[in-house]
Symmetry: C2
Subunit: 419 residues, 2 copies
C-alpha cells in the first residue's frame, strides 16, 4: 500500500538507451529542466524528483519507430521497448486528480526521445481515497435502485440516436417497460438539442416509467444524458431526481475531470459514465492511455457505471482488452474503499456473447445494453429482453445456449438472428 508516493506504469519505446529515456521522462515530469538553473540543489532533487523504480526491457525486436518525429531516425539506431514504473512524492501535488493527470500524463508523450509511450496503470496512496467520494452507488446501489439481483441488468439504448422527439422517445420507453427491461439509456448524441429538449424528454419518459412502476412494481432505470455545462448538469440532475428518475448519464470526454468531480459531489443518483471518444485516447497500442489506468480517475471522481465496449463488438477492440477493462472496474482501488463500479457492455451485443462475457468476467455484476439485439428481435422487444435474460439464466446455470434454446424459442430466434 502506497503512503506518501504515487506510481505510474508505462510501455515505453525509445531510440535511445531505455534507462536514459526513463530518466528524461522522470526529470521532465518533476524537478528537471534541460539546463541546470540556479536553485536546483541535491536536497531539492531528493525531495521532489520522480524516481524510476522499475525498468524491464522487452525482448521483442522493433523494426521502426512507432510514432514519427520531427527529429529523423538515425541510421542503425536501436529501438527498444520497456516496461517502466515511475514514482512521485505525493507532496508535490497532494491528493488532487486534476494535478495527478498533469503529472502522469502531461508533457511526456511528445518527447523527442520517446517513439512510443502508453500509460498502463496508476497506483495511488490512501490519501486519494480520503479526498474523493468515489462511486456513491456502485454495484450495490445500482442493484438496489433497479431491483435486479443475481444477474446482470438487461438494458438498451434509445435508437435512432437522434431524431426522435420527447413523445416518440416516451412511446419507445413504454414498449420497453412492457418488455420487462431493467435499464435504458439515452444515446450519447442526445442531450438537450432543440429536436428533443432534455426537460421535455425527462417529463415524458418519467411519466411512462412511473406509470409502469405504479402498475407493476417494476421501475426501469433510465440514464438521462445530462452532458453539458456545470449549471446545466445541476439543473438537469435536479429535474430527474424530482421526477423520480434513478440514473443520469454523462460523457466523460465532453465534461472532463473537474466537471465530473463536481457532478460526483452533487449527484444524488448513480452516474452512468460514457466513454465516447475513447478511441482517440487509446487506439494506437504505443500511445495514450490503457483503460486500466484511465477508469481509475473516473471511479474516484464518482462514476457508478463505466462503459467497457463488448465482446465481438462493432469496433476495433479485441475481446481480451474488453475483459481486462471490465475486470478493472470490479477490482478494488483501496483496502478500505473499493470504489468498484458496474462495467457496461455495449456495441453489437446479443445473446450470442453472454457465455464469453460470463467466462471472462466471472461475475454477473454488469450492465449489458443491447440496441439492435433487443429492438430488432423478430418477435419484438419483449422477446429480445426475454432472450437475453434466458441466455444469462442458461449461462449462470452452466447450460449451453443452443440447448436452452430448444425450450426457449425467444432465445432460439435471437441466436438465429445473431448468427
Amino acid at each position: 500500500m502506497l503512503i506518501d508516493r504515487f506510481e505510474a506504469d508505462y510501455l515505453l519505446e525509445t531510440p535511445i538507451a531505455p534507462e536514459r529515456a526513463a530518466e528524461i521522462i522522470a526529470g521532465e515530469q518533476s524537478s528537471g529542466t534541460f539546463v541546470t538553473v540556479p536553485g536546483e540543489t541535491p536536497e531539492l532533487k531528493e525531495r521532489s524528483a520522480a524516481r524510476v523504480t522499475r525498468l524491464v526491457v522487452l525482448d521483442e525486436p522493433v523494426a521502426q519507430r512507432s510514432l514519427p518525429s520531427a527529429h529523423p531516425p538515425k541510421s542503425g539506431e536501436r529501438i527498444t521497448r520497456a516496461l517502466i514504473t515511475l514514482s512521485w512524492p505525493l507532496a508535490t501535488i497532494g491528493p488532487s486528480l486534476p494535478n495527478l493527470v498533469a503529472t502522469v500524463a502531461g508533457n511526456l508523450f511528445e518527447l523527442k526521445d520517446v517513439s512510443g509511450l502508453r500509460l498502463l496503470d496508476i497506483r495511488l496512496p490512501a490519501a486519494f481515497g480520503a479526498a474523493y467520494a468515489g462511486p456513491r452507488f456502485g454495484v450495490e446501489g445500482t442493484r438496489r435502485l433497479a431491483d435486479v439481483h443475481g444477474r446482470p441488468l438487461i438494458g438498451t439504448i434509445i435508437k435512432p440516436s437522434v431524431g426522435l422527439d420527447a413523445e416518440a422517445t416516451a412511446a419507445m420507453v413504454k414498449d420497453l417497460c412492457e418488455a420487462g427491461i431493467d435499464f435504458i439509456k439515452d444515446d450519447e448524441l442526445q442531450s438537450d438539442g432543440p429536436n428533443c429538449p432534455f426537460d421535455e424528454r425527462v417529463r415524458a419518459v418519467m411519466r411512462v416509467i412511473n406509470d409502469h412502476a405504479d402498475r407493476t412494481g417494476k421501475k426501469a432505470m433510465y440514464a438521462f444524458n445530462l452532458t453539458g455545462e456545470i449549471d446545466q448538469m445541476r439543473r438537469r440532475h435536479d429535474l430527474v431526481r424530482d421526477l423520480g428518475g434513478t440514473c443520469i448519464m454523462a460523457s466523460l470526454n465532453s465534461v472532463g475531470l473537474a466537471g465530473m468531480i463536481e457532478l460526483g459531489r452533487f449527484s444524488e443518483l448513480p452516474i452512468h459514465a460514457h466513454r465516447n471518444g475513447w478511441g482517440y485516447l487509446s487506439r494506437h497500442p504505443l500511445l495514450g492511455w490503457s483503460y486500466v489506468a484511465w477508469q481509475k480517475l473516473w471511479r474516484l471522481a464518482g462514476a457508478d457505471h463505466m462503459h467497457v465496449n463488448g465482446l465481438q463488438n462493432k469496433f476495433s477492440e479485441d475481446d481480451d482488452s474488453v475483459i481486462a477493462s471490465a475486470q478493472a472496474c470490479l477490482t478494488p482501488m483501496f483496502d478500505d474503499k473499493p470504489c468498484t463500479v458496474m462495467p457496461v457492455f455495449s456495441s453489437g451485443q446479443s445473446a450470442r456473447q453472454v457465455p464469453g462475457t460470463y467466462a471472462g468476467l466471472n461475475s454477473t455484476d454488469l450492465i449489458v445494453t443491447a440496441g439492435g439485439g433487443i429492438m430488432a428481435h423478430p418477435d419484438g422487444p419483449a422477446a429480445g429482453v426475454r432472450a437475453l435474460r434466458e441466455a444469462w439464466d442458461a449461462t449462470i446455470a452452466g447450460i449451453p445456449l443452443e440447448e436452452h434454446a430448444r425450450t426457449h424459442p425467444e432465445l432460439g430466434r435471437a441466436l438465429e438472428m445473431a448468427a
Copy 2:
C-alpha cells in the same frame, strides 16, 4: 457562414471504399444504427442525419493500415486515405460545446472500418459564438494588463518545476522582476502541493511583484496555476484577483471542458491555458485531434492564452505544425466575434528562434516563455531577458541577429549559448 449546421473535416484512412466508410461514420454519429429499428422514418433521417458533404480521395499509396484492429486485414485489401467533411444539423445538439465534442469526436475513431481518423478542423455556426463568452481579455486585454505593446511578451517559467517552496519561488520572481521580465508562469506540475501551497505562493509572489510595480511602474504578469476542482479554482482565482494578480493558469486536459467553461464564466483575469498531455491526443498523424480543431473549443470556452509549443523545440513536433497552431490562435472564429487569443511559444526557446517565429507568424501578438534561455544566460537572467528583447527588436527592424549582436553583447552571448 454556417447558420443551422456545424461541420467537421477529417483525414480518413480505411480498408473499405472511402465513400462507404464516410457514410458509416456519418450514420454512427447521427441517426444510424447497425440494424434498422422501428421509428426510423425517411423524414426523421432527413431531419437529423449527418451528411457527407465532401470527399477527396488522396492519391498516395498506403502500404498497410496505420492503426491495428481486432478484425485482421484481408489479403489484397486496398487502403485509401481521403479528406472528408461531415455536416450535422444544429438542432440535434444546440450550441453546446460538450455535446459538440461527443458528436464530432465521439465513437468514431475506433470503428472497425476505420484504420485511421484525425479531426482536422471544425466550423461552427454563429449560435455558438452567441452561447459562449470567448476570451474576455485575448490579445488586447493581455497587452493592456501587462503594458507591453508592439512586441511579444517576454516570459519565463519557474524552474525547477517542483521543489521550490513559496519563499524560494518569490525570491526567483524578485530576480526576474529586476531583470525586466513581462510574464512568468508556474510550471504545470506546480499547483497546490504541500511542498508549495497555492495560497502561500500567491501571497509571497504577489508581495514581490506589487513591491516591484510600486517602485518601478512595471508589473510582471504572473500566471498562477490554479488547476484543480471547481470550488478550488474559484477560491484560488479570487485570492489572485484580491492580491492584485493579473493572470491565472489552468491545464486543459486536467480540468476538462465543463470545468474550463465554468472557469471562463467566473474568471475576472486572463486565462493562460496549458495543453500538457497534448501528445496523447495528437502525436500519431492518423489519429486524434489537430490543434487547429482543438484550440477552437477552448477559445470559445474562454481561454486567453493557448500553448503552441515552439520552433526547434525539445519535443517531436515539427516547425510547420507549430506555426499552423499559432496562426490558428490568431485567426478569427466568427465575423462579429473573433475570439483570437495569444499563442504561447515555449520549449527550448531562445533568441535563436526569434526570426523564424516572426517570419512564420507575421505578428508580434504572442507570448514567449524561455526557461533555460533566460535563467541560464551566462550573465544572469537580466541579460537573458535583454537578449530576447534585443532579438525581437532586431527581427522587427529587419536586422539579422548576428549583426545586432555585434553591438548588443547580451544577445551575442545568448546566441553563443544556444549554438
